[in-house]
Structures are given as C-alpha cells and as structure tokens.
C-alpha cells in the first residue's frame, strides 16, 4: 500500500480503536452504575428492586426522625403524601436536612421494606426542591385530585 494511505489508515484505525474502547467502557460502566429514581408510591407498590443501588426521595415526614441513642443511626419516613417509606441512614445528615423538607437518598431496599441509604442529599437553599421529588409530589397530587374528582358523584 502507498505509505501515505497506510499512514492515514493507521490514524483512522487508532481513532476507531480509541472510540471503540471509550464506547465499550462507557456502556459497560453505564449498565453497572446507573441508579434509577423511585418515589415512595412506587416503592410501596413493590416496583423497586431489592439489592440494587437506587435513589429514592420525597418529603421527610413531621415527627418521624428517630435517632439511635448509642450511634449515629437514624430512621425517618419519607413521603409523597400518598405513600411513605422508612429510610435508615448511619452517619452525618446534611446541614439542610429537616422534617418537612425534601430529600433524595441513594441506597438499597432491604428485605424488610426499609430503604438503607448510604448517601442523603437535602436541598441546599430555600427555593430549591430536588426535581425528582417535585415531580413525584406533583404526580401524587394529580392522582389524588383524580380520585377526589371521581368520588364526587358518590357523595
């Protein structure tokens, strides 16, 4: 082959190999490492898989935060005002974690229906609501509205 064409071919091959490695690694890693978001209603309905890293979130229920007196373990309920899920976390909660505020946690569903979080994120300013939580609250509210609308004729 002509040396220049050969050179061009090597360049193209290099690029393709690089691209191939990148795409291969990316798809492999994506399959392993994405975490999907589930809201409390989906979890209550049993949609969330066990022992897979997922994200869950909603509003922290009032008077639901219970601390273990000996360690940093804490349990609280997270709700979308339709269903709620118990979350357990050991460690330091973020500064803006509070009852009645939105949170998103990453972790796994345990067999007892408790969500064991290894990371808890709270909103970081007054105006911010995690988009997942906002979405899920809106959906729950819409469902609730639909239910009321349907039930009106009965009364």
């Amino acid at each position: 082959m002509h040396p220049i064409r050969k050179k061009r071919l090597t360049i193209v091959l290099f690029l393709l190999v690089g691209l191939g490695i990148a795409v291969g690694l990316a798809t492999y890693a994506l399959r392993q490492n994405i975490s999907l978001f589930y809201d409390p209603s989906q979890i209550a309905a049993g949609d969330a898989p066990q022992d897979v890293r997922i994200r869950a979130g909603g509003m922290v229920e009032e008077n639901s935060v219970k601390r273990d007196p000996e360690s940093l373990r804490v349990r609280f309920r997270v709700t979308d005002f339709e269903s709620s899920v118990v979350m357990e976390y050991t460690g330091i909660l973020p500064d803006l974690f509070a009852e009645g505020q939105g949170v998103v946690a990453t972790g796994r569903m345990g067999p007892d229906g408790v969500f064991v979080a290894d990371e808890v994120l709270a909103k970081h300013d007054e105006n911010y609501m995690p988009p997942e939580v906002k979405d899920s609250l809106e959906k729950a509210a819409a469902r609730a509205e639909k239910n009321t609308a349907q039930s009106i004729p009965e009364y």
Partner: protein, 675 residues
C-alpha cells in the same frame, strides 16, 4: 443614576461589538485596509465600556444600593466589604458580566499583543471575537440585566450572599475559571480566521499556541481552586464529586489539553492541521456547553444558577449557531489532506496522536456521563444518576494509559524514534516505578490494585521526566550550563508533566488510603483514627460578623504528644438562616487532618466526621505546577523573536529539509503543558 449608566455603557459596548464583528471582517475580505484598521480601536472601546459597566455594578455593591435587584438579592449591609466585592459575580447576572468583561479583556489583549500578525489575520480574529461578544452582550442585555431596579419599593436591606459563597475561594475561583473558558475563544477565533482565509499553516499554529496555553493554565488553576473550595467549604472533605457542573469544566480542559499538544505537532511538523482546527472549535464549544449546563437550569447543583427557561434557550441557540456555523465553514474550507510529511511508527507525532485519542476518549466518557441522564430525562425515559463508580471504572483506566504514554512519549523524537533505543531508555523508569508502586501502597497500608496502578503511573511520568531532563542537560561545560541551555518551553513541559504526576499520586493515595469516620461524641470522648487520638474537649458559642457559630475544640495527639488543635464550627447565618459547616483542617504537605461538626444528636452529644487525608494537597499542587508550566512555556524566547515571523507575507510550512534539521536538533522539545 449610576446603574442606568452601567446599563447604558453595556449598550454602548454592544454598539461597538457589532461593527467589530462586521467591519474588519468585511475589510479583510474586500482587501480594504482602512476597514481592517477599525479592529483595534473597536476592541479597545468595547473593553472600556464593559469595564465601566462592571465598575458601576461593583460600586452599587459597595454602597449597598438595594434598589438594584441583583444587589438586593445577593448582598446585605452586614456583609464584609471583600465579600460585597466578590458577590458581584456571586450569581448569574453578575458572573455573566464578569464573563463578558473577561471576553472583552482577551479581545483587547489580542489587539495589543499581536502587532506582528498580518493585518488581515488580526482583523478576522478580532471580528470573530466580536461575534462571540455580540452573542454574550445580547444575552446579558436581553435576559440577564444586572442593573435592573426594584422601584419604587426599595428593600431596606439585601437578602444576603449565599453563605456557601462567603469565602476566599469564591473571590478567585470564578475569575480564574472564566479566564480559561473565555480564553479558548481566542484559539477558536484564530481557527475560524484561518478557515476563512484558507491559511492553515505552521504560522497559524505558532500564533494560536501561546493563547491556548495561557487559557489552559488559567482553566487548570480555576478547576483546582474549585476543588479546593469544595473540599473545605462544602464541609465534608471530598475534593471531586463528578458533579455535572464540575464535569462541565473538565470537558474543555480535556479538549484543551489535547489542543495544546496537537498545536505543537501542527507548529513543529505541519501535520494534523484539520484535526487541530476541529479541536479548537470543539474546545470552545465545550466551554459554551459548560455555560449552558450551568446557567440554563437543566442541572441542579451547588453551582447551578436559578433557572429561567429563556436563558437556557438563548444559550442553546448560541451554542447551536457556534457549532453549526463553524462546522459548516470547516466542511467547506478544511484543507484537503495532502501533506507529504512522513513520520515513523514510534515518532513523537504518533505519541501525540495517541495522546489526543486518549484525551478524546476521556472527554467522551465524561460527556456521556454528564449528558446521558439529562437526555433521558428530557425524553421522559426516567430519572437516573450517574455517579462516582461510573467514572472510577471508566476514567481511571484512560488516565493510567495516558500516564504510560507520557512517560514513553517524553523521550520520543519527531519523525522517527528507534524502538530499541526507546525501550532501553525506559528500563530505569520501569524499574523505579515498579518498586515505588509496590512499596508505597505497602507502606501506606494494604496493597490495592488501583493504588498500584496509580502510583506506577505517577512514578513513571516523574522518573521519565527527570531522566529526560538529566540527559538533555548533560554538557561538556557542566551541568549548570546544560540546564541553562534548555528552553523555557521545555521547562514548561517538564513542570506540566510533573504536575500531572503530582495530581495523580495525590488522587490515588487520598482516595485509596484516606480514612474517614463518622462518630458520635460527647465532650471528653476520644476517638482514634490512623495513629492519632482526637479528643472532643468542649463546645461553645461564638459571634461572627454576620453569623452565630457553635465552635467545638478538638485536640489531636499522637501517643500523648499533642499534634494540633482544631476548631470546627456549625454556623447559622443571620439573614438567610442557613446552617453551614465550617470544617477544622490542619493542612500539611503529606497529610491533612480534618474535623467537621455534624448535627447535635442529643443534649450533649454531637455527630462528628474525622478524617485523615494523606497527600491531598498534591492534587492541587499538581495543578499549580501545570499552570506554572503553561505560563513558563509562553515566556519562551521564540515567541518574542521578531525576525522569525514575517509580518506581511504569509508564513509557509517549512520545507521537509528544514523540518529534518529541526527534528534532528537534539533539544527541540515539545513546549506547553501536559496531558
């Protein structure tokens, strides 16, 4: 009245930017020198008016003019003056004004420092920068006016600056970062100008190189400052979160690093021209993508500004126009590859080509990880997040491969490198790095494969770089003479590559051997991590300038001997009522001790996070090395020798013979930066 003047001078700046975008370019295409001559005065005028606007906004902050909505939302009379100053760029509108100011500053710098360029070239470069400037000035004036007033109900006091941003890191992080982002507009403008007049040659690469290197150095510093700020101010001791906004700054950095290297090949050897131009366009487009991600509200993160859909649409349009028009131009004008220049399979050209391939692969991985969730969400296919594990799995192998390439590449020569000679050179680095990669992990704790790989890569780069420096500087007149004979751009490369080695070793060691413990402590309790005892002595209240803090005292000792005392704090800011964690950090070259105060878990017990972070400072020290290398490289003498560059005649690609001579000169290094 002052805010209106600010607004007015922004409009005037736009009125100068529009002719800047059109007139010199028209002059260059019709060959009329009189029109080209408008470029420099217009660039200067634009800078003056943007600077006036910026000065007036700063003034509004300094005198607490809360009738200006932006000041009212981001300042407070209690705020110390230096935070009032940095609050100017604390939120969307002001930071965009800073962006525009820096763009105008770069434009002015090109106008001043390019006296030796052909006037056609400079007219076109400044025109392209004028176009970018028109886009951003329009964006500022139409969607994000920082001078908007709240009248007649002027608030009595401001809503305060977000406490997270009341920090020294914020004073310097955004300006550095923007210097980098916006600085890439210069090489973009050079690339577009070269495409317009079809003169894509070694001279073009030579002119673009220093600008690219400087922008790259600023971006490196900006990213490192952001990481450092996150480490001590977000409170929990992480230094890189693979947050989409961090990724937005890493993307142009990776592309820019590739560009710095491919420009070197284009300048020295006249090859990879089309690729270099494409890379210049890509780098700047990624800077714009970063701006879009941060300012459009598609992301939620500490960095993201309040969302407003019109802003996102405007920026997306700007990004689309830039990419489509420059790629169209590229498609029509990119040189048909007909270079007769040959190079062997182990030549420096090939090493730099591989460098570019790997950097692009790394960039694509980060791009996929950043955009994939956004696209899925946009299509309504569910919300998911891609976190650290994805990047650890994908980015780290590419980084290690790059390190291996760097060590070998530093010895390689232009045109042709003898394979046997090269492998003999690599024996020492191989031996020393293997020893280091086994000993360091064992000395720090247990042996881990990733720690081995990271230490090996870092040591490999460092040993090869020093070996190359040692061999190149050998001279019959003595070592000192040999060291002085090396060019500044060579030392720039040495510093840049050592910087990579430092960052890599720091990142490897701290992520594999850092110790982190969350504990529940009451005053008097002692917790032990590493070989250190942390004693929670007491906690008390302290009144700050605009906050009240709970301050804990933690004494740290090793076997009874005191090491240091830290005072971590929990602050409540009075205006926004936010809680903030202010960590207590004892920094050192070899390890940081870090104590953060969590929440109060009972009457007298507190949650505390204790951390031992070995070599964390090296992560940022490496970035300082890289930036210093960049600045040193552009101080190289050859950028200042006048007679090397013809001022009117187009410079030609050196003849193959001349290149041969160039390549055979032994100390003909590859200047600029690192990979």
């Amino acid at each position: 009245m002052f805010p209106e003047l600010g607004q007015f001078s922004l409009i005037l700046a736009l009125m100068l930017a529009i002719p800047l975008a059109v007139v010199p370019l028209a002059g260059s295409l019709t060959g009329r020198d009189s029109l080209q001559a408008f470029a420099r005065p217009l660039a200067a005028g634009q800078f003056v008016f943007v600077a006036i606007a910026f000065g007036l906004l700063t003034h509004a902050f300094m005198v607490d003019d809360f009738s200006v909505a932006y000041v009212a939302n981001n300042s407070n009379s209690l705020l110390p003056w230096y935070f009032k100053f940095s609050a100017v760029w604390g939120s969307h509108e002001g930071s965009l004004l800073l962006w525009v100011l820096i763009l105008a500053g770069w434009t002015l710098a090109v106008a001043i420092f390019s006296r030796r360029l052909p006037s056609v070239m400079i007219a076109q470069v400044l025109s392209v920068m004028g176009m970018v400037s028109v886009g951003f000035l329009l964006f500022l004036l139409l969607t994000s006016n920082p001078f908007e007033r709240i009248l007649p109900n002027v608030p009595t006091d401001g809503a305060d600056l977000n406490p997270l941003l009341q920090d020294f890191g914020l004073i310097i992080h955004p300006p550095m970062l923007y210097m980098g982002y916006v600085g890439f507009s210069v090489v973009f403008a050079f690339a577009i100008a070269a495409l317009i007049n079809g003169r894509l040659d070694a001279a073009w690469a030579r002119w673009s190189r220093p600008w690219t290197t400087v922008a790259w150095a600023f971006l490196s510093l900006g990213i490192a400052l952001g990481s450092w700020w996150a480490y001590y101010e977000l409170g929990w001791g992480g230094w890189w979160f693979w947050d989409p906004v961090e990724n937005a700054s890493l993307l142009p950095w990776l592309a820019g690093t590739a560009l710095v290297h491919s420009l070197a090949v284009t300048e020295k050897r006249g090859v990879f021209k089309s690729w270099t131009v494409l890379l210049a366009i890509l780098t700047f487009s990624l800077s714009l993508l970063g701006a879009f991600l941060v300012r459009s509200g598609v992301l939620t993160s500490v960095h993201a500004f309040a969302s407003d859909p019109t802003r996102g649409q405007f920026l997306l349009a700007l990004l689309a126009i830039t990419i489509i028009s420059s790629l169209t131009l590229y498609a029509f004008r990119a040189p048909v590859v007909h270079s007769r220049i040959r190079y062997g399979s182990a030549s420096r050209e090939v090493f730099l080509l591989l460098n570019n391939v790997l950097l692009m692969a790394a960039m694509l991985l980060v791009l996929v990880g950043t955009l994939y969730p956004l696209i899925l969400d946009y299509l309504g296919m569910g919300r998911l997040s891609i976190g650290e594990p994805f990047y650890n799995l994908t980015f780290s192998p590419v980084a290690i491969a790059l390190a291996l390439l760097m060590g070998a590449g530093i010895f390689s020569r232009w045109k042709k490198t003898d394979g046997g000679w090269l492998s003999r050179k690599l024996l020492w680095p191989l031996a020393i790095s293997l020893i280091m990669a086994v000993l360091v992990p064992l000395w720090l704790g247990e042996f881990k494969p990733w720690a081995f790989a990271g230490c090996f890569g870092a040591a490999w780069i460092a040993v090869a770089t020093f070996q190359d420096l040692w061999q190149k500087s050998s001279s019959r007149k003595g070592r000192w003479h040999g060291l002085r004979r090396q060019t500044r751009s060579y030392y720039g490369m040495v510093l840049g590559h050592l910087g990579i080695a430092l960052t890599m070793s720091g990142a490897t060691v701290v992520s594999n051997y850092g110790i982190e413990r969350d504990v529940r402590m009451t005053p008097g309790d002692v917790a032990e991590i590493h070989d250190l005892q942390f004693e929670f002595v007491k906690i008390g209240e302290r009144q700050g300038a605009n906050f009240v803090a709970q301050t804990a005292q933690v004494d740290i000792s090793r076997g009874g001997r005191p090491v240091t005392t830290l005072y971590p704090e929990k602050r409540q800011y009075q205006v926004q009522r936010n809680m903030m964690t202010e960590a207590g950090i004892d920094g050192g070259l070899f390890r940081d001790l870090f104590v953060a105060l969590g929440e109060r878990v009972s009457d007298d017990a507190w949650a505390m996070r204790l951390q031992y972070k070995p070599l964390i400072r090296w992560v940022w020290l490496g970035a300082i090395f890289m930036a210093a290398g960049g600045f040193l490289a552009i101080a190289d003498r050859r950028y200042r020798i006048k007679d090397k560059l013809p001022t009117t005649e187009p410079a030609r690609v050196p003849e193959p013979d001349a290149q041969g001579a160039l390549a055979n000169r032994r100390a003909d290094p590859l200047p600029g930066g690192a990979s």
